[in-house]
């Protein structure tokens, strides 16, 4: 019989949930089928997918980033102000922010800090900087960012093309490069990676730096969609990104992550929002229903896992 590797199985479940959800949306709203419909459905997925990849890189080294939402908000504020009015300064600030992320990784490693608390502290810092930049909602997206996010490629809408591109780049980076193996190795068994002669500090710094880079891209793409920014624009990204990684088959510990799964997880979360508005659920229960969808998808995953185990036993 045709057999799936465990990695493929890990990916099959998130993909299946996404397909089911998409089928349900199309069934309820046939007009959503097609280029424009898909673009509308997945419009907001690009920044969430990028933030999810960033969170995944942190989770690959057994850490957790609670500052993701405030950081993406901060980047959005920089993009809507400096990156438009003074591109050189803007790029410098964003590079500095990525550097800060890498430095945070070094500090967390050297001082053996709990990442949850260190990033919690950083979330105050990023939030404060964002409030300093834009005390009230405002700013404007740079024209090239706006163009990039609204461009209409042939065949498939921008959101889909971008998601595939993000997934491929992240897959090459995390699953196929030696740095990616090293990063996941730290999550699996830090001591053995260390004994093999690798520098843990450098690897952790690069994991954090890469996460910073992806989070910066998330902030920039978010402003490209919303056209203006606000200090609280992306606060929910912290929890969304964690949920996206888990939905995509990632784990909190052990360096077991899946970039393609993470992007699929982000798409599922985005689609859940559209699905609910099609269901005409009262706005009071929108958040609650999102929670329920999360539970259902995870239950589905458990069921399929059990089935897989039974198959193996036979």
């Amino acid at each position: 019989m045709f057999r799936l590797s465990s990695d493929a199985m890990r990916l099959a479940i998130p993909a299946l949930s996404l397909t089911l959800l998409l089928a349900a949306v199309f069934w309820m709203q046939p007009r959503a089928v097609g280029y424009v419909g898909l673009n509308l459905l997945f419009n907001l997925a690009v920044p969430i997918a990028l933030a999810t990849i960033a969170q995944m890189l942190i989770m690959a080294v057994n850490d957790l980033d609670l500052s993701m939402g405030t950081f993406v908000s901060f980047v959005a504020c920089v993009t809507a102000t400096f990156l438009r009015d003074a591109p050189a300064t803007g790029v410098l600030i964003l590079a500095g922010a990525i550097g800060t992320y890498a430095a945070l990784g070094v500090i967390i490693h050297l001082r053996n800090l709990p990442s949850i608390v260190a990033t919690l502290g950083m979330s105050f810092v990023w939030g404060g900087l964002a409030v300093l930049l834009l005390p009230a909602p405002g700013g404007q997206a740079p024209d090239w960012v706006r163009w990039l996010m609204t461009v209409k490629p042939p065949l498939a809408p921008m959101a889909i093309v971008a998601s595939i591109a993000i997934a491929s780049v992240a897959h090459l980076l995390v699953m196929r490069s030696s740095l990616g193996v090293l990063i996941r190795g730290i999550g699996g068994n830090q001591r053995s990676v260390e004994r093999a002669g690798w520098s843990i500090v450098a690897a952790r710094a690069s994991a954090y730096g890469l996460a910073g880079l992806f989070a910066v891209l998330a902030g920039i793409s978010l402003v490209g969609l919303t056209t203006s920014a606000d200090a609280n624009i992306a606060l929910r990204y912290t929890l969304l990104s964690i949920a996206g990684v888990i939905l995509g088959g990632g784990e909190f510990i052990g360096g077991r992550v899946s970039p393609i799964g993470a992007v699929i997880g982000a798409l599922t979360l985005t689609l859940a929002g559209s699905f609910l508005s099609f269901l005409r659920i009262s706005p009071d229960w929108q958040i609650g229903a999102q929670g329920a969808i999360l539970i259902i998808v995870l239950a589905l995953r458990l069921m399929l896992n059990r089935l897989e185990k039974q198959e193996k036993r036979r």
Binding site: I116, S282, L294
Partner: protein, 315 residues
């Protein structure tokens, strides 16, 4: 081993030291004019963080990955429903408290049911529950702002012998938590589970039952905090719990409880809660803006855990 050395080696001493330094720096600016007022305000606001922090501490003690994100939503729902039920009548105060406790129990039950039955990591399970609970709060609240019964409003905002009543309630809860943690077999069990779940299972500890009770305990404390906070602030608001998500985690860790689990302490929660409030009021006294205040708060949190980090991290 001198008494001083023994004191310094306590994990909670750092948060108390930090709180004291910040308190001192603040009253220096006002030349001691606001000493009593500042201390009372600090005790009042710290009390709410202490109550939710203790619940969160018990959960975090259970080991890596254990965390309760449904705290803010539980607080909001308990506060909203209790005030609605009491409907400004003093006679219904106890039934209000009872319904708050029941809400806590139900949320805790849902949390653990998801963790156990669906094998979801606690962080995602409690997150999902919190979405549903938050929706329920929005649905029951409907923008109404019902005042608390007068006796209860009076109780939560006044002092006994100069000590705020809510702080006394928090102290009683802390004593109970300390007793549970240090003097009962249950306390030993959660520490054992936090240090190694397989080992605890081998040793015949009822792991599932203990974890279940702990999640119940955390949710119940969150609902009590929500009940008190709603009465203290003159009505329930939908966002009243939001700052307590990060706060409950921050006070646990700054207080010297090991994030990796298995080692917790109650006094540190008090030091950290006082510290968190005093930092904000110190920065307010110095007249800095909202942005700078947030940045300073973040940097101070990071500095504190860096100072105490080597000890907490290795555990």
């Amino acid at each position: 081993m001198t008494p001083l050395f023994r004191l310094v080696s306590k994990p909670w001493i750092w948060s108390w030291l930090a709180a004291f330094v910040v308190w001192f720096l603040t009253i220096m600016v006002t030349l001691g004019a606001s000493t009593l007022g500042l201390s009372q305000a600090a005790l009042t606001f710290a009390a709410f963080s202490v109550i939710v922090g203790i619940g969160q501490m018990f959960v975090i003690t259970l080991g890596p990955g254990n965390i309760d994100l449904s705290v803010p939503a539980t607080m909001t729902l308990a506060g909203t429903v209790a005030l609605k039920l009491m409907n400004v009548e003093n006679g219904l105060i106890l039934s209000g408290l009872l319904i708050a406790l029941v809400i806590g129990l139900v949320v805790g039950l849902c949390n653990y049911a998801l963790i156990k039955a669906l094998r979801i990591p606690p962080i995602i399970a409690t997150l999902s529950t919190s979405f549903i609970v938050q929706s329920a709060a929005i649905w029951t609240n409907r923008g109404l702002r019902i005042k608390p019964p007068s006796v209860l409003a009076e109780f939560t905002t006044s002092n006994t012998l100069g000590v705020p009543n809510v702080a006394i309630v928090a102290l009683l809860i802390s004593l109970l938590a300390w007793f549970l943690l240090e003097k009962t077999i249950y306390g030993r069990w959660i520490s054992a589970i936090g240090q190694s779940m397989p080992a605890a299972r081998m040793a015949g500890i009822p792991v599932d039952g203990t974890r279940f009770v702990t999640y119940l305990f955390c949710a119940v404390l969150a609902s009590v905090a929500g009940y008190l906070l709603a009465c203290f602030s003159g009505g329930a608001a939908l966002n009243m719990g939001s700052e307590y998500l990060l706060m409950s985690i921050a006070v646990v860790v700054i207080g010297g409880t090991a994030v990796a689990g298995g080692d917790s302490n109650v006094p540190g929660i008090w030091g950290a809660s006082l510290f968190m409030f005093l930092v904000v009021s110190m920065l307010n006294t110095y007249g800095v803006g909202a942005g700078i205040r947030l940045i300073m708060t973040g940097l101070i949190i990071i500095s504190v855990i860096m100072l105490a980090g080597r000890r907490a991290g290795m555990r």
